[in-house]
Symmetry: C3
């Protein structure tokens, strides 16, 4: 596989994309810090009054449904409308899809509006694709491999790159051709720090904004986050210090090192 | 005193209880990380639409009144109803009780609904028990010892284990018998990090979910949090690095070490 | 210049001012920790029902418009009314002024109500003073020097100390006399950690509460935050570990060292 797309890393730093995050209150701080660390510029504008206006000037938008208040739902609708009117890419992070019916309805409402990428765990992607039984909140109870058919279906139906986080990540895009890879990187300790997955959703938006090919952009985003996890895990074995080191590594892992820290495998037979 | 209940530590790790937190926005991140660190699984579901549904599948619920929006009050009512219908334990953290009249009314409303535990500082517990003059926001201006009668009365009236955080903690349960202990552990530096007390409330819910005897569960939760504070204070003397080390220690303090890091003293004459 | 006002540092520690923060959800945790680190006591009370009551007992109030929900706008109005009725100083942090019209309207509404200080970046201050073209969210696209006239005008119109954060800070007060200084301190890495500027707004409120001369109070607040940034930057070169060290340094930088870590220069010709 051609790793040229790892240059997307530099493209983010050079363009400092402005990423509007409508995200859950648990992770807004770590998400903003993660965006700063990779060279993007975060803005957490999420009210109904301001979200459309801001999305029209943002470089990318994140819609994360982790703690959706009624006002934030309104903000999300406005942000998506603003992003679409400006042809700005937006990412859907379907936290809790399937396990929680109210937010799942909202996600089904916005799915046809053209997200550039959808990033979740296997249970969430299966639920969104309409084939699963729902999850246990934000945890995945399904394996990544079990979600392959759902990911393909969801990408075909929406046009989005679909990314599933797990022990190894799966990234799928059904466009003119169908492309799908497994990505091995990172470290299980990433699961012990809240917000690493949600931050990855925001980072996907930054890479989509900075790199033309959306499939490559999403792979590069996952590679960056996972490689930073590997670097952090070499130094720290408990979640407090690991989280600090992960943020440091997002900031200073050399692009040239990322290639050696991730392993990509084409998915066969799709 | 029999320290066998320190096995509750392992019980949490083995059962990975799913803890739904309806908590204040200041501490939601550290609370989620603290739950992950002790082996529990956090979910910050707190909207009116989703809270009842989720509480029915959660292992335990935290109600923390630190920054209560009108929607979150609605979510809290639904979560309590859902928890009670599923016989799931819930913990009340009465942040600011007495000092702030609007939230104190809400707490008085839910007190008769059967919390498994109530965890606060001395001023808050005195205010809830109806005998005090109110506090100064989230700070305690009363000593733990001065709150003993209030704690006994509050436990008798509600059936909850009542826990008071302070230089030494006081834990009281009035059931078939009356049990009360002082617990010395932790370090004053815990007071310099926002969210350690609020995280303890969530951790109480995790221990209640994983350990049958509620009095022992709440002691074990306090011992875990306090011992982690002692471990962290051995290494760091300023709040930023202490907070990181505390989270690390929540994750990796050996259960066998906790016994040596806490001192329990029966309360006489109650 | 007389550095005697650096004693304000000790005044904060001795009086432990209670600072009510109505701030954005992204930074509420780091803001509370920063206040604890400098010896103040944070309280994040921001609902319409409780904000007036609490502001009447608080020592200082922060109004930060970073993620303003409709309820929080209500809380801000109540907090300002409560603060003014009790002659308690309040600080306005006009996050996103100019770039976002809805919140800018709110800021223009409360500007005549007598903030003790206004702290923002150059774009925000220019927008508030009515002379600029608006900013790009929370980033500054104007230089500090370009905002001098706006700062003077805004201070004259409101009576507030006006502080602009940038590569060097500018602090202006138009009272019986006009005073203005540039303050060099800190480190560019502070820009890579979310919430350092917002925390500075809260710290300004603490210094206003503890020190009589408002111009000196705001300089001392900036010196404290900037000096802590310098101390942290000596040890760490990536944002995760820098943020931890900055919080440590806010806690333990010796007041006697702060003088050597900042450089004040009178602004000529105003």
């Amino acid at each position: 596989m051609d790793y040229a797309f790892l240059r997307a890393h530099d493209a983010v730093r050079e363009s400092t994309p402005l990423i509007q995050c409508l995200t859950n209150k648990v992770v807004s701080n770590v998400t903003a810090n993660a965006l700063l660390a990779i060279g993007a510029s975060p803005a957490m504008v999420d009210t109904p009054e301001e979200s459309r206006e801001f999305a029209q000037v943002a470089s990318g938008v994140l819609i994360n449904c982790g703690t959706p208040s009624s006002e934030q739902y309104g903000g999300m609708r406005e942000a998506i409308a603003g992003a679409n009117s400006a042809h700005t890419p937006w990412v859907l992070d379907p936290v809790g899809a399937g396990g929680l019916s109210h937010r799942t309805e909202f996600m089904r409402e916005v799915l046809p509006l053209g997200p550039g990428a959808i990033r979740g765990n296997a249970s969430e992607i299966i639920a969104l694709a309409g084939t699963g039984q729902g999850g246990r909140g934000v945890e995945s109870t399904d394996g990544v491999e079990a979600a392959l058919d759902s990911a393909v279906a969801l990408s075909r139906d929406t046009g989005a790159v679909v990314a599933i986080s797990g022990p190894r990540d799966l990234i799928v895009h059904v466009g003119d051709t169908t492309r799908a890879v497994y990505l091995e990187s990172g470290h299980p300790m990433l699961q012990n720090v809240i917000g690493t997955g949600c931050s990855l959703g925001a980072i996907c938006a930054a890479y989509l904004a900075a790199w033309e090919d959306p499939f490559e952009a999403i792979i590069a985003a996952h590679a960056h986050v996972g490689a930073a996890g590997s670097v952090a895990a070499e130094k720290h074995h408990a979640p407090g210090s690991f989280a600090v080191a992960w943020l440091d590594a997002l900031y200073d892992v050399p692009p040239a090192d990322i290639e050696g820290l991730v392993k990509l495998t084409d998915v066969e037979g799709i």
